[in-house]
């Protein structure tokens, strides 16, 4: 054993050890990506299962239907007349209808300002007090007048009203049921949930006059399609990549698929043959959505408050009618009604690849961590390299007198440069969040230009001010260290964003001070191609214009803060 240790120590001194890190770091990146592509295989993913036994999904008879069909038609007739009318008008019309069912109602006004636009409206909500409960817990049924695509929720609103009227007749509820009708799918639910938890800004969002207990779950109905449907699409992405508890999704899949015989789709995969390509596609779409971290439906606002929520959106041509969707909601509410405590058993971090297949955090996290570790490896390697004396010493003399073999490092300039560059990121963060919408595009172009010009300028400045090779190494080392650190922290909060950023920033690990002009130009072009502005241009459809609520914007913005700046730092080394 001592001999083994001694030889290991000898190996540490071997100059070949320093050649290794770039390959090791490349290996990390490749392994991270390869790992990701293994996940859809049967051996690496798992079948879903219900962890919380109290849910008992699909174990009850659902009775919604029959005469409720007539009620639904009546409500639909009323709702159709309101299409195109103002927010206040349809609330005025709906409030007496809900009061007629025998429920307490209340309204809430909200106004948000973001990107120079104003989002305002009035939420209407009603509380069905549980016959067997004590108003300490509640389940929410959400129906928005407009879905995220801007279509009118023609069938969803009447269906929600019919369901509420039907629920009122039952005596088995042990949790209050709240019906929430919002004018839009993002700002309205956000305002309501904020106010429900007293986390709102009273100047912009009014407080709720009527409240119930702790929210245990929420289901949103987004049924804009006319006529019968074939399958249900479950939308589950929350703000900032947070997800609802997997048990909720499993229960609905179980009720819709198992009990009612309705197909279930995820991540806009309308046809899924459960083969490898479809699984992979579903997973990648889920990751992209998670990485963007935007709200994807009325349910998204609930998830940050630890209220598990999903949106149900019927699609396709089939023979299922509105009553079938109603029964799915009824079954899910009966399951949620059974809960003795908040959903906590199952996973909060997962990637779904088919309605009955998922990978949990323990399985997928290594890929993001491998990508993050590559930066740390390079940072350590560069640190060691920077500590080596400038003159070449023979390996033999090194083993004998290793202590003075470490050169003194001048830390102040590298630390200063890295801190400065990192803090520069606050400027775009602030500007993009505060300028009006019309100025966003010019501002963006200006930043693209600046982003392209800044690194060469900085590099030129450094080159003219006698920066030593050691200092270059140290600057790169610190930047990579910080990048690796931010990414591994981010991976615990939003895995997909960390992985995407990590992969985009991967070339930064391998940048060296180049001598030839051709290499310089090639590397600059490559780095600019993966720089945040270029990526945003490529994905312009997703980004930039749809900054809606200030809260979401800030949340997304803050994520950008951690990831934007390190990427800006790098191209400098191309010089």
């Amino acid at each position: 054993m001592p001999r083994l240790l001694a030889s290991a120590l000898q190996l540490r001194r071997d100059p070949r050890m320093l050649k290794l890190p770039p390959y090791l770091s490349l290996l990390c990146i490749l392994a991270g990506v390869a790992w990701l592509f293994l996940l859809p295989l049967d051996q690496y993913s798992r079948r879903t299962y219900i962890s919380e036994n109290a849910l008992l999904p699909g174990q009850v008879h659902t009775y919604f239907g029959g005469s409720d069909q007539n009620v639904f038609r009546a409500y639909k007739h009323e709702a159709n007349e309101l299409v195109g009318k103002s927010n206040a008008e349809f609330n005025d019309k709906l409030e007496p209808i809900i009061k007629g069912i025998g429920l307490k109602t209340a309204r809430q006004n909200f106004t948000y300002h973001a990107a120079g636009q104003t989002f305002s409206g009035e939420n209407l909500y009603a509380i069905l007090q549980a016959p067997r409960g004590d108003a300490t817990e509640a389940i929410v049924l959400v129906a928005a007048w407009e879905n995220v695509k801007g279509e009118t929720n023609r069938n969803g609103i009447p269906l929600a009203l019919t369901l509420l009227r039907y629920f009122k007749r039952w005596s088995l509820w042990s949790k209050d049921i709240i019906l929430l009708i919002t004018p839009d799918s993002i700002a309205g639910p956000q305002a309501w949930v904020d106010a429900y938890h007293d986390a709102h800004d009273p100047a912009r969002v009014s407080s709720l006059p009527l409240k119930s207990g702790l929210l245990q779950g929420a289901i949103a109905i987004d049924y804009a399609q006319e006529g019968r449907f074939d399958s249900v699409h479950i939308v589950y992405d929350g703000v900032n990549g947070q997800l609802p508890n997997l048990d909720l999704i499993n229960s609905i899949v179980n009720i819709a698929g198992g009990q009612m015989g309705i197909g279930v789709a995820l991540q806009e995969m309308w046809h899924h043959d459960n083969g490898y390509p479809d699984r992979l596609r579903t997973m990648l779409r889920g990751m992209l959505k998670q990485g963007l971290g935007l709200a994807s439906g009325p349910h998204s606002s609930f998830i940050p408050y630890h209220v598990d929520a999903v949106t149900l959106r019927p699609f396709g041509e089939g023979w299922q009618d509105e009553m079938a969707l109603g029964r799915v909601v009824e079954g899910s509410f009966r399951s949620l009604n059974n809960l003795l405590e908040h959903l906590h058993q199952s996973f909060f971090f997962y990637l779904l690849m088919q309605r009955e297949r998922f990978v949990s955090i323990g399985t997928y996290l290594p890929s993001a961590m491998a990508v993050a570790i590559n930066f740390t490896i390079m940072a350590i390697a560069l640190w060691v390299k920077s500590g080596q004396p400038a003159e070449v010493t023979t390996p033999k003399s090194k083993t004998e007198t290793p202590a003075p073999a470490t050169a003194e490092r001048d830390l102040f300039l590298p630390l200063g440069v890295v801190t400065l560059i990192q803090s520069l990121a606050i400027i775009p963060l602030y500007l993009f969040n505060h300028v009006p919408e019309s100025a966003l595009t010019p501002l963006f172009l200006a930043f693209t230009l600046l982003n392209t010009l800044l690194p060469p300028t900085l590099a030129h400045l450094l080159a003219t001010s006698n920066t030593t090779l050691q200092q270059y190494h140290l600057i790169q080392s610190f930047s990579l260290l910080l990048l690796g650190m931010f990414l591994s922290s981010l991976a615990t909060l939003n895995f997909s964003l960390a992985l995407i950023t990590g992969l985009l920033a991967a070339p930064l690990s391998f940048v060296r001070p180049y001598r030839s002009t051709a290499a310089k130009v090639a590397v600059s072009v490559l780095l600019n191609a993966v720089s945040p502005t270029a990526v945003v241009l490529a994905a312009a459809a997703y980004w930039g214009t749809d900054v809606t609520t200030v809260l979401r914007e800030a949340a997304v913005g803050w994520h950008v803060c951690g990831t934007y700046s390190p990427v800006v730092v790098y191209p400098r080394h191309a010089q």
């Binding site: 947070q242 971090f349 740390t376 350590i380 003075p404 470490t406 591994s488 922290s489 615990t492």
Partner: protein, 425 residues
């Protein structure tokens, strides 16, 4: 940077810059002070500004401040803060007080650095002492350290302890034993644990006595010092008694630290351990933990007798890891003293590793706390794991510094071994 000439202008510039930075954060981002005050990394049950407000409210309404079971800080804070205008209506005065305390700490640190005690004490002169940073650099490193700034903005009352400890050391190196003992008594009165610094501080005072009126006998000197501390402490206790009208403050302040009755999470290692503990073992492990913490004092004081300032630095580092309610304020105090040993930095072996570990921990800590408390998708183990990593990083730094100092001493004894690799047998 090393030999930069320090003019009065630069001194004023540094202090003004640090003050403006803090004032700018206070005034431009009014949400940040309250945000940081709520962070567990900054505010512990025994230093939190929020709890101070609670105690102050009770005190101003003629109720015993310890009645609510929330306030665990020294009674003398109450008249000090009730003299200031309320921090809710006119917060600027509170801000100015905290900024002034930070600047006072920095000036004490400056004096310690300029005394050169870290490089050449009465009994030992390091051959490497030429390579050192000026007081300006060391004060700047303290004032601009993000941990120090965050503590100041979070208005944790541990800044007063930090200031008292630094002044005690500064008085000691400038040959004023009485002043040092008074400052140490204040520090102990505020936070209790600085009392453990008494032995090395007495040695430091003894070594640095002014030649004119030096006391020859070590025992006599130590006796006088201890008596001074005891005297000042009893005066402070008496004052506290007069202020609050009962001795209730003793169990509520020092008792809480001794028995860890408030188990709010913090960056230390105690809270989780005592949450998990069965009640029957509690008193035993409390004794073990305290014994462990105080056992370092005797050992280090004897082993590094020739450099008492090193003992003080290492002890502050160890307390910062192992004391019952540590916060990043204690880290900032330890990190303030580390740059005094610039001359042994080349002997340290794990600077990069420990710096990276501490950085990682300070980045992952808030993330895991968020996962546990807000997102609800993590649990207490997440945060505890990261506090373990934090403790690991800091203990690496403490060990490394200790190694470097001992090696420096050893190379004086064995000049032929200078520069050779040592191997553990």
């Amino acid at each position: 940077m090393d030999g930069a000439k320090v003019t009065p202008g630069r001194t004023a510039g540094l202090y003004a810059g640090a003050a403006v930075l803090r004032l700018a954060i206070f005034t431009l981002f009014p949400g940040i002070p309250d945000l940081l005050t709520g962070r567990v990394e900054i505010s512990t049950p025994v230093t939190s500004f929020k709890r101070l407000q609670e105690g102050l409210f009770l005190y101003n309404h003629n109720v015993s401040p310890y009645d609510g079971g929330v306030y665990h800080q020294a009674p003398l804070f109450l008249p000090l803060f009730s003299l200031l205008p309320s921090s809710a209506s006119l917060p600027i005065f509170t801000y100015l007080l905290y900024i002034a305390v930070d600047l006072l700490s920095a000036s004490a640190l400056w004096r310690i650095a300029d005394s050169g005690e870290s490089g050449s004490s009465a009994l030992f002169t390091s051959p490497r002492r030429e390579k050192r940073w000026s007081g300006f650099v060391i004060a700047a490193l303290f004032l601009l350290n993000p941990f120090t700034v965050a503590t100041c903005i979070g208005r944790s009352t541990s800044v007063f302890t930090t200031c008292a400890i630094l002044h005690a050391v500064a008085k000691a190196v400038s040959g004023a034993p009485f002043g040092a003992m008074v400052a140490l008594s204040f520090a102990s009165y505020l936070s209790m644990y600085p009392l453990l610094l008494l032995p090395p501080l007495v040695l430091l005072c003894y070594d640095r006595q002014r030649s004119g009126r030096a006391t020859k006998s070590m025992l006599q000197f130590a006796g006088t010092c201890t008596a001074t501390v005891a005297g000042v402490l009893s005066v402070l206790f008496q004052l506290s008694y007069l202020l609050t009208g009962s001795w209730e403050f003793l169990p509520s302040t020092y008792g809480v630290q001794l028995t860890l009755s408030d188990l709010a999470p913090n960056v230390g290692l105690w809270w989780y351990f005592f949450i998990e503990m069965f009640d029957s073992f509690r008193s035993f492990f409390l004794a073990v933990f305290w014994l462990h913490l105080s056992s370092y004092v005797a050992g280090l004081t004897v082993r590094i007798r020739r450099q008492p300032l090193v003992v003080l630095t290492l002890l502050l580092g160890i307390f910062n890891i192992f004391k019952p309610y540590p916060s990043i304020s204690d880290t900032s105090l330890f990190l303030a003293l580390v740059p005094l040993y610039r001359h042994v930095f080349p002997l340290m072996r794990y600077t990069f590793v420990s710096a990276a570990v501490v950085l990682y921990a300070s980045c992952l800590g808030p993330a895991f706390y968020y996962l546990w408390i807000y997102a609800g998708s993590g649990n207490a183990n997440f945060f505890y794991a990261i506090t373990l990593v934090w403790g690991l990083g800091l203990s690496l730094l403490v060990c490394d510094l200790m190694f470097a100092v001992l090696r420096d001493e050893w190379e004086v004894e064995r000049p032929e071994m200078a520069g050779k690799e040592i191997r553990q047998i």
